[in-house]
């Protein structure tokens, strides 16, 4: 279960960011922002070697004492960032991958909507629903 989920556009501005409301959201925003640097580094490092074979799932970007940050980038350079609580050790890598896969699917559905302009913030209720399903069910 994620504590914070964010979708960042190619130009590195957020399209969608949502955190568990009970906590200091600003902190998560900052974390996501800093993780972008790691993402950039990863995609630049892997990209040149493998070319188009770069894997979308970036894995653990950034562990801190409180939480862990996972990254995923699409072929169009849209980044997904998931922040999970470090204390939640039951989350395996496969689960994180499946979360990203769901996010990606939902994101493509949003993109398919002709009324959604790429670059706009995501306001799809379906997408919200998916994200809610993945967030920690505390609040």
């Amino acid at each position: 279960m994620a504590v914070c989920i964010a979708v960042i556009a190619k130009e590195n501005y957020p399209l969608y960011i949502r955190s568990v409301p009970t906590q200091n959201e600003l902190k998560f925003h900052y974390t996501v922002h800093t993780s972008l640097d790691v993402v950039e580094e990863k995609i630049s490092a892997v990209g040149k070697a493998l070319g188009d074979q770069r894997e979308l799932y970036l894995g653990l970007l950034y562990p801190t004492e409180d939480y862990k940050v996972y990254g995923y980038v699409t072929n169009s350079k849209v980044k997904f960032v998931i922040v999970v609580d470090s204390s939640n050790t039951s989350l395996r890598d496969n689960e994180i991958r499946s979360m990203f896969r769901k996010l990606h699917n939902s994101f493509t559905d949003v993109m398919c909507n002709p009324f959604h302009n790429p670059g706009d913030t995501i306001q799809s209720k379906a997408f919200d629903g998916i994200v809610s399903g993945m967030m920690v069910q505390t609040a």
Binding site: A45, D109, C112, P114, F115, H116, Q123, G129
Partner: protein
Amino acid sequence: MESLTLSDVEQKYYSDLFVYCDTDNTKKVASNGRVLDLFRAAQLPSEVVLQITELCGATRLGHFGRSQFYIALKLIAIAQSGLPLRVESLNSVKDLPLPRFVVGKNEAEARHAALYQDPDSQGLYPAPGTAVIPRPPGRGHQNKKGHPSSTSLPVHEVIQPLATTIESQPEPTSPVVSPHQSPPTSPHSWRKHKRQHSGGNAERQPVVAATGAVWTQFREPQTGPVAGDGMWPSHSPPLPGQESWVSFTADTPPSSTLPAMHPSSVQESTTIRTVASAATTNEIQRQSSTYDDPWKITDEQRQYYINQFKTIQPDLTGFIPGSAAKEFFTKSKLPILELSHIWELSDFDKDGALTLDEFCAAFHLVVARKNGYDLPEKLPESLMPKLIDLDDSAEVPEQTADVGYSASPVEVTPNKSPSMPSLNQAWPEMNQSNEQWETFSERSSSSQTLTQFDSNIAPADPDTAIVHPVPIRMTPSKIHMQEMELKRTGSDHNHPTSPLLAKPPELSEEAKLPASMKFVAANTVGDGYSSSDSFTSDQEPITRQRSQSGTSPEALKVVAPPPPPPRPHPSHSRSSSLDMNRTFAATSATGQPQPSTIAYPPAVPPRPLPTQTSVPLTGHRVEAESIAGGGAVLTTTSPQQIPQQPNFADFSQFQAFAASEQPSSLPEVDKHIEPGQGDKPSEGAGPLRTVKSDGQADERPSATVNSGAKGSSGPLAPPPKPVRRRLKSEDELRPEDEQHGPQKSNVIAAVLATQPSIPRSVGKDKKAIQASIRRNKETNTVLARLNSELQQQLKDLLEERISLEVQLEQLRPFSHL
């Protein structure tokens, strides 16, 4: 009176009104009472009404003639439009909306409603004699409900001008359709009418009151400014609803007028709705059910949607691309956010295009939204593709009750919505889970295939091995093994013949195998051939034996890594099988001086060893001991063929064999070879014998005891050693053994060892040389194979290394930081 030019709509409308007012049925004069009521219903200030009556000349006449009535109506319309009352304006005002009248309940309305019902179906403006209330043609809906004629009149009228947009009712109203429009244009209105009709007069009134409240609610959601009257002009009654619908822009005003529309009309619509809920007739129920399920699309609506679909995509089975749909729905002037939400709901298969069903659903939702309905969270069942109920089949009254229409129409979303969410939720979950399942299944299947593959091969070998030592190389290559098996089977029965001759290299391999096999574990060895793992396991015992023989350590080292490559070779010069091959070759080269020699080669590949009978074995053993090369060959083959157990009684036999020395062994060898293949490892003696026989065969031609001794010594720890030593007494054997670390090399060594023995063979130097040449070639092939195998192992190891490095890299996320 000024001449009055009325449009058709107006004409109809007015005539209906006149009839309505014509209580006396004089068809000429409208009773003042009714007229006044009607005028009051127009919600105009009384002085305006007075002015109107004066203008129309009724005051003069004292009654409302038809023309006066018409003039009055027109003036009312003008007044409602906010225009100054002028006689001149009667004809000058163009596109004057029809006068609106507050709903008044009345039997007349019911009458009218009833009348309307019939003609409604055609959506035409029925003009039966009496109740020809100018219903908006769009209302083609069958007004099943008993529309109180009187009230319906104003309602209709009111509604008419609104071009059915008034149907702001929760029902997904069709776009504003001019009264003249065909039915599809105003399904909503139809619905409304139905309701009205179904409702009784009595119901009307209370309903009206309730609806009034409801209506206000509807109004609020309305977005248009709706300056009520102001809207009228913009919306000429005859305006084809469809066109205005399509060009959503036009619709907005009408839709906005809806709320603004008269409260009466609103009430009317709401009334209708509520009436529907209260209705008891089937129609009512149907209506109400429609209400209860506001998401249901009526036939007319559907037809309209289909027509709209055709304008974009002529092929009804085709798709409307997202961009075209976006343009189309953008005309509805709904906020993009809502349109986006509607799209999400209606694009069921998430393909970015709309099928006919999806389009109808989207259209329906847009209409509903425009009429004040809130968008549902989930697609209503009735709008789901392929689920749209085209027929307003009689619904259970309970449905209406459920909806509780008297409550705000906004809550229209039927109970089905809750079920919808579950459905909708289930979909993505299922889809996702399907994806996951698919992946899982892939994994499982792949793993299963792997295991099955292995298991299939493994069992096969033991059997064959049992039957006869599988000369298959100990390499992991299954193909090899299969080949070997084939050879074995072929050779089993062909010992005497020289199929082996044709496959010297294989023989050499086989020889190696036997050597490596050692009789440690016949079965396991056989298995080992099939799978590398087993090989390794086999090797260990073999190595042990080898150690005994003195050459094992080398083999072990080689085998350790991934596949049990070389197998038993190291064990020792069991390469007696090779020797046998050589001897075989030699014999063949030499013209096969002895039939026994010929027999040898065939025996080797199939590893006839185990099949050989005990008797011959003993004989062979003796010979093997005496013959170095041959014995080595034999032993190599035998162990492989029989996954033998090291302990074979063979040892004793061997020793005895060794003691017995050569001469008798030769003939026995032949015998051994042939039957050897069929023997099982259980017959420890058998394999040994075969081995020895092979060795002996080698020895015979080579007349070297050493090889035989070597061969025999291989599988048998103690006995072979002495034999081997004997063999090794020949220097050549030894150094060659040492040279080949891996088993193969040992085999080769054995082979080589036999070579020197060959020259020593009795008096056949030339032949021996030729034989040795052949053996050398075989050795070369064996070595080449060994080399390739080692290369392969090297590659595998490198790949493993790379993969490990990659994993390591991945596990260090910040290594690059």
